[in-house]
């Protein structure tokens, strides 16, 4: 179990993480969803002991990561966002080294290395230098090095970035297998679909602040049954906002001279009225898109911008 309480991390004047609190439970995946630079990797860095928090407390299975860092680290496995492998060694040697770094030795280490090689599908390439591997193979080995010592808590920092679809599917299966074995997984991503498919609980984070947290259903309920309507064109933001907010069931999420984002109940029935109101307010419509409630729409509602912006 990971408990993060009022975590803060500053670099001079820059606040990277600001008062983040959450709890990740065993046998479950806790997702940290946010755009690049939101503070996800900094949070992972503080949990893994790589960074020292400026404020707040973190414990891993009851061990404080600052005052009892050795014990906390023994329970942790980490799969970093960037590959962390010795390219001039082979897969077996990489796994053996990282296993030894967590205290495995002798027959136990050898047995575990063979198990992991089979699990990540590299059993037949075990003695080949890693530099000859494809990107997907390296990603799987990177994952294997994080779980070789069978950690109780696993930190996965955007493990599928830049991975081909086939390897991504395999990696997500591996994560589910870890959870099934009782591991507590903290998973950061900026892929909304991954978070929706994989995570039991999700926290949305942006600019270092935790904006919302809950199960997927709980988060969906936050946005209600409203659809998300995105309008592009030329607008007078103030006039458009005044015109639209007079309508029932229409909420203006964000408005600028090029884009309007609205949360609308039963949007298909109200489209004509919305277009008229915008034209009456001096706006000129060029493009319209309508989407069902999702994490993306929740993120837009919470931050006023899309996840990938």
């Amino acid at each position: 179990m990971i408990t993060v309480s009022q975590l803060g991390k500053r670099y001079g004047d820059l606040v990277a993480v600001d008062g983040v609190s959450f709890t990740a439970e065993p046998r479950s995946i806790f997702g940290l969803l946010g755009p690049n630079g939101a503070g996800k990797s900094t949070t992972i860095g503080c949990i893994s002991g790589l960074l020292t928090p400026t404020s707040g407390h973190i414990s891993v299975l009851g061990h404080d990561v600052v005052t009892d860092s050795g014990a906390a680290r023994r329970e942790l496995g980490i799969v970093p966002q960037d590959l962390a492998l010795y390219e001039d060694l082979n897969a077996r040697e990489n796994l053996a080294y990282w296993g030894a770094a967590y205290g495995l030795a002798g027959d136990a280490l050898k047995r575990r290395v063979l198990e992991v090689l089979e699990r990540i599908g590299l059993g037949d390439r075990a003695r080949e230098p890693v530099k000859r591997f494809s990107g997907g193979m390296k990603r799987r080995l990177n994952f294997g090095c994080g779980v070789v010592h069978q950690p109780k808590v696993l930190l996965l920092d955007e493990p599928t970035v830049g991975v081909d679809p086939q390897s991504r599917v395999r990696l997500l299966e591996l994560v589910r297998e870890e959870v099934a074995a009782g591991t507590c997984v903290l998973y950061t991503t900026h892929y909304m679909e991954e978070a929706q498919d994989l995570c039991d609980r999700i926290a949305i984070i942006d600019h270092g602040k935790l904006l919302s947290m809950g199960t997927l259903d709980e988060l969906r309920r936050l946005i209600g049954e409203k659809d998300v309507l995105r309008l592009s064109g030329r607008f007078d933001p103030q006039a458009a906002r005044r015109a639209l907010e007079r309508m029932d069931g229409v909420e203006v999420v964000s408005a600028d001279e090029r884009t309007l984002r609205l949360a609308v109940e039963d949007a298909t029935r109200k489209l004509a009225a919305i277009f008229s109101a915008i034209e009456a307010a001096g706006g000129e419509l060029q493009e319209t898109s309508l989407s069902q409630p999702s994490l993306e729409s929740l993120f837009i509602k919470l931050t006023g911008r899309e996840l990938r912006e």
Partner: protein, 409 residues
């Protein structure tokens, strides 16, 4: 301790995947040594100074001077050639001789009649040592001539006058000169035979005379250690850029163990290089076998110290390129001044004095003592402290830096 060995094995395995780098670290000093050997002539005969002499006087004294330079110890160092003034000037201008000596007309009169006389010596600026040998040899001859003139001036004048006379020396004249020599020698024999001062000559204990390779061996060894230490210290940047250092920091292992593993791997590679070099030294160049083990231990210790200094330089740098540049800026001057490129014996005294107190220079001096001299345990201990204490501090600072800003910046 187990993780130190695991880390060391990991680094050794990684090094073995790049044998070209290993060969370069070990082979470059050997190549440089071979080139120096070719320049110097290695084990060939001692070099001779080529001395050109222009004898404008053509006198008894000038011939005595030339004869003296072709006899005894001077003949071992001097290769004398009598030339005309023009030929002598031409040869020295082309750099075909070490020096040109001109014996001017009237030199004999000057010597025998106590008048001013000047010998002119022109040396070849392209040579450093051989012209000095000639100059010193001539000084000895001039000094000897002064004492001969003091003792036998009158008799020499009579011989010279009689040679010049049309009739040549008379029997009475030769007898008179001989008697005068005899009287003068009898007068001084109380002092000379036996001499008032008794000089007891004792030969210094003969040490094994190191040959060229043996003289250069310690410096070349240290050069190899410096290159290895620099190469191995740069590995810390590969660990950083490949993300393995960050991953390591999230494990329960201590950074000190990780760095100690690198140090052990470095020292293992260095020790292998030293064993090969000393083995060659023993088999081919007469390095005493019995002294090799202590030399190996000292070289390994010095290598560990050099690695610690250089790894601190790496972690204080802000980029791979910066670390490479900064370490090269330090390593190469140290190699030049620390007795690796040029032995201390051929350096100006002030430079050799500084060089002996550089880390590698200190190590070179002690290896030389261990292999060819009489190393004093006390002096060796002082040198070990002088190398080891700063190295331990550098290692500790490097660990702190690795744990802090270096890994996450």
């Amino acid at each position: 301790m187990r993780f130190v060995l695991t880390s060391a094995l990991k680094d050794l395995r990684r090094r073995l995947t790049d044998p070209a780098a290993l060969l370069m670290w070990m082979g470059l000093p050997i190549l440089i040594g071979a080139l120096l050997s070719l320049i110097d002539g290695g084990n060939g005969p001692a070099p001779k100074a080529h001395l050109l002499i222009v004898d404008e006087d053509q006198s008894l004294v000038s011939r005595l001077l030339i004869g003296g330079s072709r006899q005894g110890r001077l003949a071992e160092f001097l290769d004398v050639e009598i030339v005309t003034a023009d030929a002598g000037r031409r040869k020295i201008d082309h750099g075909d001789a070490s020096a040109l000596l001109t014996i001017p007309k009237g030199f004999e009169d000057g010597v025998l009649r106590e008048q001013p006389a000047t010998l002119t010596l022109v040396t070849n600026p392209a040579e450093r040592i051989l012209p000095v040998i000639i100059e010193e040899g001539l000084k000895m001859l001039v000094e000897a001539a002064f004492y001969v003139q003091r003792l036998f001036g009158q008799q020499l004048r009579e011989i010279a006058d009689s040679i010049r006379s049309v009739r040549g020396p008379s029997s009475e004249g030769v007898a008179a000169v001989s008697r005068a020599f005899n009287d003068r020698l009898r007068a001084v024999q109380a002092t000379l035979f036996p001499p008032v001062l008794e000089l007891e000559a004792k030969a210094a204990p003969k040490e094994d005379q190191p040959n060229f390779w043996a003289l250069f061996l310690p410096g070349l060894l240290l050069m190899s250690l410096m290159f290895t230490a620099q190469g191995m210290s740069l590995d810390i940047w590969i660990e950083k850029t490949s993300g393995t250092l960050r991953r390591l920091l999230s494990t329960p292992q201590r950074v000190a163990s990780f760095l100690m593993g690198k140090l052990v791997a470095s020292v293992t590679i260095m020790a292998l290089a030293v064993v090969v070099a000393l083995g060659l030294g023993v088999v081919m160049f007469g390095v005493p076998m019995a002294r090799a083990p202590l030399a190996l231990v000292w070289a390994a210790f010095a290598g560990a110290a050099l690695f610690s200094y250089l790894v601190l330089i790496q972690v204080l740098s802000t980029s791979t390129r910066g670390g490479q540049f900064l370490s090269s800026m330090i390593v190469f001057p140290l190699i030049m001044i620390g007795g690796s490129f040029f032995p201390f014996e051929v350096m100006p005294a002030w430079m050799a004095r500084i060089g002996r107190w550089t880390p590698n220079g200190l190590a070179v001096a002690k290896i030389k003592e261990i292999l060819f001299g009489h190393p004093e345990p006390g002096a060796l201990a002082v040198a070990a402290v002088a190398l080891g204490v700063p190295a331990a501090v550098a290692f500790w600072l490097a660990v702190r830096r690795l744990r802090g800003q270096f890994a996450v910046s």
